[in-house]
C-alpha cells in the first residue's frame, strides 16, 4: 500500500511537469509570458552561472533562519511573561489583538524609510510576522495549564519557578511547537516581502529584477527556491517537534 501511494505521488508529479512542458507551447502561449519546464530549467542554469544565484539563495535562507529564530525567541519569552502575569495580560491583550490583526508586511516600507536598503528591514518584518502567532499560542497554552497539576506541585511545596519549569513550560510545548510550525511558513513570507520592497540581494530581489526584465522564468525559479527554503525550515521544525513531543501518542494514519 505504502509503495503504491509513493508511486502514485511520483507519477502525479511527473504528470504535472509533463503538462507544464507541453501544454503552454501547444496553446501557443509565448515563452516569456509562461515559460515551460525546460525553459525554466535553462534559465535556472543561466542564473547559477550569470546571476550568482547561490549567493541570493544563501542570503534569503540566512535571513529567514535569523528572523525565524529571533522572532520565535521573542514571541515565546513574551508569551511566557504574559502568561505568568495575568495583570499584564489583561492590560495588554487589546493591543496584542490589534497588532496581531495588523498586516505585518505593510510595515516593510516604513522599515526601509528608517533603516535604508540594508538587511534590517527584511529581518524586522520577519521577526514581526513570526512573533505574534508564537506569542499567542504560548500565552493561550499558559492560560490553559491544568490547574490540578499546578495544585499538585503547590501541594508538594514547589517554588514558583519550579512550578514554571517543571509543570507550566513543559505543558505548553505542544502549543509552542505548533506556533513554530506556523512561524516557519510565515518567516519565508516576511523575508520575501522585505526583499521585494527594498532589497538588492536575495530571491525576493530576483523576483523584482526578473519582473523588470520581463523574465518570467527567473520569477518562476525564485518562487520555487523560496518554497524550497520554506519546506526545509518546516522540515527542521517538524524534526525537532517529533523528538520533543515523543511522549504524545501518534494517531495511526
Amino acid at each position: 500500500m505504502r509503495v503504491k501511494e509513493l508511486i502514485a505521488t511520483v507519477l502525479f508529479g511527473l504528470a504535472v511537469v509533463a503538462a507544464w512542458e507541453f501544454i503552454p507551447p501547444a496553446m501557443g502561449i509565448r515563452r516569456f509570458i509562461f515559460p515551460n519546464f525546460s525553459t525554466t530549467m535553462a534559465e535556472f542554469s543561466r542564473m547559477v552561472s550569470a546571476e550568482n544565484l547561490w549567493r541570493h539563495v544563501l542570503s534569503t535562507a540566512t535571513m529567514t533562519a535569523a528572523g525565524f529564530v529571533l522572532g520565535s525567541l521573542l514571541g515565546a519569552v513574551g508569551g511566557y511573561l504574559l502568561g505568568l502575569s495575568s495583570f499584564a495580560e489583561r492590560i495588554l491583550s487589546p493591543y496584542i489583538l490589534g497588532l496581531q490583526i495588523a498586516p505585518k508586511v505593510a510595515f516593510a516600507p516604513l522599515f526601509i524609510m528608517w533603516f535604508g536598503f540594508t538587511d534590517w528591514p527584511k529581518l524586522l518584518v520577519t521577526v514581526l510576522i513570526v512573533f505574534f502567532p508564537i506569542l499567542v499560542n504560548v500565552l493561550q497554552a499558559m492560560k490553559t495549564v491544568d490547574r490540578d497539576q499546578v495544585n499538585l506541585a503547590r501541594a508538594y511545596a514547589m517554588s514558583r519557578s519550579q512550578i514554571f519549569f517543571k509543570v507550566e513550560m513543559p505543558s505548553t510545548m505542544p502549543a509552542l511547537m505548533a506556533g513554530l510550525r506556523i512561524g516557519a511558513t510565515l518567516a519565508v513570507i516576511g523575508v520575501t516581502v522585505g526583499e521585494l520592497v527594498g532589497g538588492n540581494s536575495g530571491l525576493g530581489f530576483l523576483i523584482t529584477f526578473g519582473q523588470g526584465q520581463a523574465n518570467a522564468a527567473m520569477v518562476f525559479n525564485s518562487i520555487l527556491l523560496l518554497t524550497a527554503i520554506g519546506i526545509v525550515l518546516y522540515g527542521i521544525v517538524s524534526f525537532f517537534e517529533a523528538r520533543i513531543l515523543h511522549y504524545i501518542p501518534r494517531v495511526e494514519r
Binding site: 491544568d146 490540578d148 497539576q149 495544585n151 499538585l152 506541585a153 503547590r154 501541594a155 508538594y156 511545596a157 514547589m158 517554588s159 519550579q162 517543571k166 509543570v167 513543559p170 510545548m173 511522549y247 504524545i248 501518542p249
Partner: protein, 265 residues
C-alpha cells in the same frame, strides 16, 4: 477500632467552616460548617456524602491549598498554614506529567526537597516495587492503562512519605473490574505499609470495603452527621470484605442515613 486517647493523631479538624465569597449582591457560599473529626495514625477513614457537600473542600484544607474561614486544621499536631509536605493527595485524574517516564513522575514530589538524585532514585524504586509497577518504570503515561496510571499516582504520592494520604475519588474514572482490582491493590499496599488514609468517595460499598471508619457528610453546608465504625476483617482485601455477610448491612445503614431513597436525582 478501639478509641484510645493516647493514640497519635494524623489529622484533626476542629470546628472547621469554609465560606466562599458569592460575588456582588449574592450571599457567601458556605461549603462546610462546624466540621470536627480526627484521623488517627495508621487509620483508614472514608468520607461519604452527596455531591456538592464539600468533600473536596476538606481535601483542599488538609493539603493546605485553602485556609479555613473558622476553626483549625492540624496535621500531625501542627496547624496547616500553607501547602505542607506531610500530606500526599491523589485525585480521580492521575495528574501524571505526560512528558516524564513513570519513574520520573514518582520522583516529582521529591524534587522540591533537599534530597539527592541518588536517594530520589532509591525511593522511586522502592515505591514502584511497593505499588507493583516496577516493570513500567521506563514507560510514559500514555503507554499505561488507567488502572496502572493510578498505581503510578499512588507511588508518586507515597514517595514523599506523607503523614497522611488523601484519596479523592481515585477509582471513579475506572471500569468496574479495574476498580475492584485496584481497590484490592491499594487496600493491600495501604494496610501493609500502615499508611494513614482519608478516602473521599461517593461509592458507599467502596467505603465499607476499604475503611476502618466512615464519616457521613450532609448536604451543603457540609457537616458530619454520622460516624460509622466498620469492624469487619480483611481490610487488606476489599474484595473479600465486600463478600462478608455483614457488609451489606453497613451499606444499607449508610444508604438510609444519606436518605438516598427520598432524594431526587
Amino acid at each position: 477500632m478501639k478509641r484510645t486517647g493516647a493514640m497519635a493523631l494524623a489529622l484533626e479538624f476542629q470546628n472547621v467552616g469554609k465560606s466562599f465569597s458569592g460575588g456582588k449582591n449574592r450571599p457567601d457560599l458556605k461549603a462546610i460548617d462546624g466540621v470536627s473529626f480526627e484521623v488517627r495514625k495508621k487509620e483508614f477513614v472514608a468520607i461519604v456524602g452527596p455531591s456538592g457537600c464539600g468533600k473536596s473542600t476538606v481535601l483542599n484544607l488538609t493539603a493546605g491549598l485553602d485556609r479555613p474561614t473558622t476553626g483549625s486544621v492540624k496535621v500531625s499536631g501542627e496547624t496547616v498554614s500553607g501547602p505542607n509536605p506531610h500530606v500526599g493527595f491523589m485525585l480521580q485524574k492521575d495528574l501524571l506529567l505526560p512528558w516524564r517516564t513513570i519513574r520520573r513522575n514518582v520522583e516529582f514530589g521529591l524534587e522540591a526537597r533537599p534530597v539527592s538524585a541518588a536517594e530520589r532514585r532509591d525511593r522511586a524504586t522502592r515505591e514502584l516495587a511497593r505499588c507493583k509497577i516496577s516493570d513500567f518504570a521506563g514507560h510514559y503515561p500514555f503507554q499505561l492503562s488507567g488502572g496502572m496510571r493510578q498505581r503510578a499516582a499512588l507511588a508518586r504520592t507515597l514517595a514523599i512519605e506523607p503523614d497522611i494520604v488523601l484519596l479523592d475519588e481515585p477509582f471513579s474514572a475506572l471500569d468496574a473490574q479495574t476498580k475492584m482490582l485496584l481497590q484490592k491493590s491499594f487496600g493491600r499496599t495501604i494496610t501493609e505499609g500502615g499508611i494513614t488514609t482519608l478516602l473521599i468517595t461517593h461509592d458507599l460499598s467502596e467505603a465499607v470495603a476499604m475503611a476502618d471508619r466512615i464519616l457521613v457528610m450532609s448536604d451543603r453546608p457540609g457537616r458530619i452527621v454520622e460516624e460509622l465504625i466498620v469492624d469487619l476483617p480483611d481490610r487488606d482485601n476489599p474484595i473479600a470484605r465486600r463478600a462478608h455477610p455483614r457488609a451489606g448491612s453497613f451499606i444499607n445503614h449508610l444508604y438510609a442515613s444519606l436518605k438516598l431513597d427520598e432524594r431526587a436525582a
